[in-house]
Point group: D2
Chain length 257, copies 4
C-alpha cells in the first residue's frame, strides 16, 4: 500500500476578467482544490473552468467559503449574525455543488477562506454557524481548517470528519501555533527549505519551530498559496520530492481510513 500526502491550494480566485493565472498549473500539482464560491472571488465561469480542470487531473474539490466581500477579497472580518453566516455557507456550497455535478464530480469538503478562516479559529459563534451549515446541507462533507481551531473542535463534536491543515511556507511558534506574519522569519521564501520541512513533517512527523526547537506535527493536508510568486515552481518541487520518496498525493477522505 502506498502512503499518501494531501497538498491543497486555493483556486478559482479570479473574478470575471481578473485572474491570478495559476489555476491550471496548480491543478496539475495538488490533490485537493479549495474552490472559491462567488462571495470573496469566483464567478460562475471561473469556477466551472477550475472544476473541470480539477476533474481532468483527478483532484478532489472543496468549497472555499467566504464572506460576501469581493472588494476586500474576503479578507476583512465581517460581523455576520450566525444565521446569516449559516445561510451564506449553504448557498455557496450549493452553488459549487451544482457546478461540480455538471463537471461530473462532487464537493467533498469545506474550508473557510481569509478572514472567515481566521475568525473561526477563535469565534465560537461563527465556527458553530459554519458547522451548522455543513451538518444541514451534507454531513458527509469534511471540514478543513487550522488544527485545534474552534471550527475543527466543533466540527468533530458534531461528528464531521476534520482535516488538519498546515501551510508549507509559514513558521511555527514552539507551542505549535502559527508565527504571526509580523515576526521575522514567519514566512518562508526559500524553496529548498520549504520542501525539506514538508518532507520532514511527512516522514518524521516533526517540524522545527521558529526558535529551533522541534515540534511534533502531522497535519492531514499541506496548503500551497497559489498567489505567492513562485508557487507553481515550488509546488512542482514539493510534489517531485514526495513522489521520489514513494508518496502519492491524494485527498485524505479519498483514502480508506
Amino acid at each position: 500500500m502506498t502512503a499518501t500526502v494531501d497538498v491543497n491550494s486555493d483556486l478559482a480566485e479570479g473574478f470575471g476578467r481578473w485572474t491570478f493565472g495559476t489555476d491550471d498549473d496548480l491543478l496539475g500539482i495538488v490533490s485537493s482544490a479549495n474552490i472559491a464560491c462567488g462571495f470573496h472571488a469566483g464567478d460562475p465561469g471561473t469556477i466551472r473552468h477550475a472544476v473541470e480542470v480539477a476533474v481532468a487531473h483527478d483532484v478532489t474539490i472543496g468549497a472555499h467559503v467566504g464572506y460576501p466581500d469581493l472588494q476586500g477579497f474576503g479578507r476583512r472580518r465581517m460581523d455576520m449574525a450566525p444565521q446569516e453566516l449559516t445561510d451564506a455557507v449553504i448557498y455557496q456550497i450549493g452553488a459549487l455543488s451544482g457546478i461540480a455535478r455538471v463537471a461530473g464530480t462532487e464537493v467533498r469538503y469545506v474550508k473557510p477562506h481569509g478572514a472567515l478562516y481566521n475568525t473561526v479559529v477563535e469565534s465560537t459563534a461563527q465556527a458553530r454557524a459554519v458547522v451548522t451549515a455543513i451538518v444541514e446541507i451534507d454531513p458527509s462533507l469534511s471540514v478543513m481548517g487550522l488544527p485545534s481551531s474552534r471550527l475543527l473542535t466543533l466540527a468533530a463534536d458534531a461528528g464531521l470528519r476534520t482535516i488538519d491543515e498546515a501551510f508549507v511556507d509559514r513558521a511555527y511558534l514552539p507551542d505549535g501555533s502559527l508565527a504571526p506574519r509580523s515576526m521575522d522569519g514567519a514566512v518562508l521564501h526559500d524553496v529548498d527549505a520549504i520542501v525539506a520541512r514538508v518532507v520532514r513533517m511527512v516522514t518524521e512527523g516533526v517540524v522545527e519551530a521558529i526558535d529551533g526547537s522541534v515540534l511534533s506535527l502531522r497535519p492531514d493536508s499541506y496548503c500551497i498559496h497559489g498567489d505567492s510568486p513562485g508557487a507553481v515552481a515550488m509546488g512542482r518541487r514539493l510534489k517531485e520530492s514526495l513522489v521520489e520518496r514513494g508518496y502519492q498525493l491524494a485527498h485524505p477522505a479519498s483514502v480508506p481510513a
Copy 2:
C-alpha cells in the same frame, strides 16, 4: 380524480433588509413558487425563509434565474455570452438546490426572470444557453416560460418538460401574444374581471382577447405578480373561486401525466 390548476408567483425577491413583504401570504395561496436565486434578488436568508415557508405549505419550488444585476432587479437586458449565461444559470440552480436540500425539498423547475424572461422569447442564443444549463445540471427539471417562446421550443426539442405560463392580469392580442404594456387595457386591475377570466380559461379553455375576439388558450400555469398592490387579496379570491369549482391547486409536474 380532482382536476388541478397551477398558480405561481415570483418570491424571495427581497435582498437583505429590503423586502416586498408578501412572501408569506402568497405562499399560502400558490402551488408553485419561483424563488429568486441571488442574482437579480434574493440573499441566502431571504431565499431560505421563502423555501421553508413553501415547504410548510407544500408548495413546489422553481429556480427563478436572472441576470447578475441587483441594481436593475434583473430587468435590464444584458448581452451575456452563451457560455457565461449557461454557467450563471447552473450556479443559481445549484445555490437554490443547496438551500432546498436543507429545507427538505428540491428544485423542480426553472423560470427565467425579468429581462431574461423576455430575451429568451426571441433570442435563440440566450434561450439555448438556458436550456443547456438545465440539461447539464438536471434534465428532470421542467422549464416554465411564455408559450411558443424560443425557450420552450428549444427546451421541448431537448426533451425537457415545459410549462406554458399565462399572466392573470395581462391582456392578449387576437394572435395569442401578450398585449404590450403601452397599449390601453394591457394590464387588468379589476379583481372580478381577472378571476372571471382565469376561471374561463380553466373551465372552457378560452380567453377574450383585447379586441373582444375569443382565443383558445389553456396554459399550464397562471402567474400572480406578487409586487402588484392587492396581489394577495386577488390571489385569495382566485384560489377560492377555483376551489369552489372543485379544482385543486397543484404544480403540473406533481400530477401524473
Copy 3:
C-alpha cells in the same frame, strides 16, 4: 431672531427596485437629510431623487457614508484597514457631491451609517480614518455623530465642526449613553412621549433617563428613524409641536454661530 432646532433622517436608503417609500414625506419634515451614498444603500437614481426633493424643500444634505455591504445594509461591522476606509468615505462623499451639484446644492456634513456609526464611537483607527477623509476632501464639512464618540472628539481635534446627535426614540442611561436595545424600554414607541421628551430637551436642555433621573442634554440635531412604522406621522407631530412653540427647523451649520 427665531430659535432653531435640527431634525435629521436617514434617506435614499432604497436600492433600485427596493424602497422604503417614505423619502418624499420625510423630506417635507426634516431640516437635514442623511443621504445614502451607494455602499450600504442608495443607487444613483434613488439618491438623485432624494436630493432633488431635498432641494425643493430647502433641506440641507449630508453624506451618510457606510461600509460596502448592500446585503447587510451596512449593519455588519467590517474590519476595513484605515486607508481603505478613508478612500471609501472620500469616494462616497464625491459621488454624492456630484449628484448634489447637478441638483443645485452641495453636501454640508457627513454622518457614518449603521455599523460604521457604532464602530467609530469606540474605534480610534476607524474614527480617524473617517476624519482623515473629511479633512482631505473638504474641511468645511461638519461631522454628525454620537456625542463624546471618538469620531466627534477626533473631528473637533482636527478643527472640524461637529454635530451632536440624539435619537428621538431611544432611551438614555443615567450616564448619558444610549440604553442598549436589549434593555426593556430602550426604544420608545409612544408618539406623545417621544414628542414631549424632545420638546423638553429643546426647551429645558434636559431629558429623563431610563431610571427616572434627569440628565442635562442639549444635542445639535434630533434623528427620526425613517424605517420605523409611523415615522412620518411622528415626524409631523414633532415638527408641529416645535413650530407651535416658536421654533424653526434648520440645519445647525446653516445658522450663523
Copy 4:
C-alpha cells in the same frame, strides 16, 4: 512652440486584490489617464493610487465611466434606461472628482468604457444620456470617443469639447471605420508597425487602411490598451519615437486651441 500629441490609456482597472499591474508604468508614459470609476472596475483605493501617480507624472485624468457590471468588466451591453444611465454617469464622475480633489487635481474629460463605448457609437438614447450627464454635472468636461460616433456628434451639438480617439493597435477599413476584430489583420501586434503607423498619422495625417489604401486621419488622442501583453514596452517605444521627432505628449484640452 512645440507640437503635442495625446496618448491615453485605460487605468485603475483593478478591483481590490485584483490588478493588471501596469498602472504605474503606463502613467510614466501617457498624457491622459482614463480612470475607472468603480462600476466596471476600480475600487476607491485602486482609483486613488492611480490618480496620485497621475498627478506625480503630470498626467491629465478623465472619468472612464461604465455599466455597473464588475463580473462582466463593463463589456456586456446593458439596456439601461436613459435616466438611469445619466444618473450612473453623474455618480461615477462625482466619485472620481472627489478622489481627484484629494489628490490635488481635477477630472478634465469623460470617456465611456467597454460595451458603453460601443453602444454610444450607434445608440442615440444612450449617447444622449451620457451627454446629458456631462452637461448637467460640468459642461467644461471634454468627451473622448470614436470619431463620428453618436456620442461625439451629440456632445458637439451640446457645446461640449470633443476628443477624437484612435486605437494604436487597430486596423481601419477604407471608409475610416475600425476593422472588426473578427477580420484578419484587425489587431496589430508588431511594435515597429504600430509605432510607424502612429508616427505617420501624427506627421502626415494619414494612415494605411487594411486594404492598403491611404486614409486621411488626424485623431486628437491615441489609445494604448494597457491590458495587452507588451503594452508598456510598446508605449515607451511610441513615446520615444514621438519625442525624438520633437513632439511633446500632452492632453488636448491642456493646450491652448
